[in-house]
């Protein structure tokens, strides 16, 4: 089973390295990248300083593998990469990276939206919003 999780935040360098690796793929004309960044939300007067992610990894990797396959069936894509952080991701850092590539741009936006929604709604990933005062709140996707 492929592992889609990384420990800690996803660095801009990791993203540029992924882009760089696609420069040898000469049938690609359009990339669409989604990045989830941790927001400094205020929840009942508590200010978020980080999210600590955990997951039911075995099930999550299986689910993401299924989502990847159904995305390739639904959309005409060349490449598709998905990464999610585990552990602490601080405000301003990136914890979710979806990278969609296709020969033409037509499909890429809908494919990206489909993947992001499927991952948010159907993959067992859990997030603990840690506040600046060290209290916390278990995050729930709407």
């Amino acid at each position: 089973m492929k592992n889609f999780f990384l420990n800690g935040p996803i660095s801009p360098d990791f993203i540029s390295n992924s882009i760089y690796k696609h420069q040898i793929k000469h049938n690609i004309g359009a990339h669409n990248i989604f990045l989830g960044q941790v927001r400094k939300d205020t929840i009942k007067s508590n200010v978020v300083s980080a999210i600590e992610y955990s997951a039911y990894e075995e099930m999550a990797n299986k689910k993401i593998t299924d989502i990847r396959e159904s995305t390739f069936e639904k959309f005409d894509l060349t490449c598709l990469h998905i990464y999610h952080s585990l552990g602490v991701v601080e405000v301003g850092q990136i914890g979710f990276f979806v990278f969609v590539s296709s020969s033409r741009r037509k499909n890429v936006y809908d494919a990206t939206k489909f993947i992001v929604d499927m991952i948010k709604n159907t993959v067992p990933i859990f997030g603990k919003e840690i506040f600046e005062n060290n209290e916390y709140n278990w995050k729930v996707n709407k």
């Binding site: 997951a55 067992p124 859990f126 729930v140 996707n141």
Partner: protein, 87 residues
């Protein structure tokens, strides 16, 4: 191989997020002398007082409706999954 209902089954149970916080453990191997998923879930809810918490149940990595009449086999893995927050 069909099991007699009177045999005990051993089930791996995993807890995540706010549920694991409440159970104070992430995994346990528990034996039951019944094999209906609904009854197993109910007994865990009672054991750890999970009634106030919202969660979904997975059986062997697939989400299931714990109210369906699903039979659990020896060695199966059940997980208690609080609301998802990925992305």
């Amino acid at each position: 191989m069909k099991k007699e209902l009177t045999d005990n089954i051993f089930v791996n149970i995993k807890y995540f997020g706010v549920i694991a916080e409440k159970t104070n453990l992430e995994i346990e191997k528990t034996s039951f002398d019944f094999n209906q998923l609904s009854k197993i879930v109910e007994s865990i809810k009672n054991k750890y007082d999970l009634h106030q918490l919202s969660f979904q149940i997975s059986l062997n990595l697939n989400l299931v409706n714990s109210e369906d009449s699903i039979i659990v086999n020896d060695g199966d893995e059940i997980a208690f999954l609080p609301p998802f927050a990925g992305g």
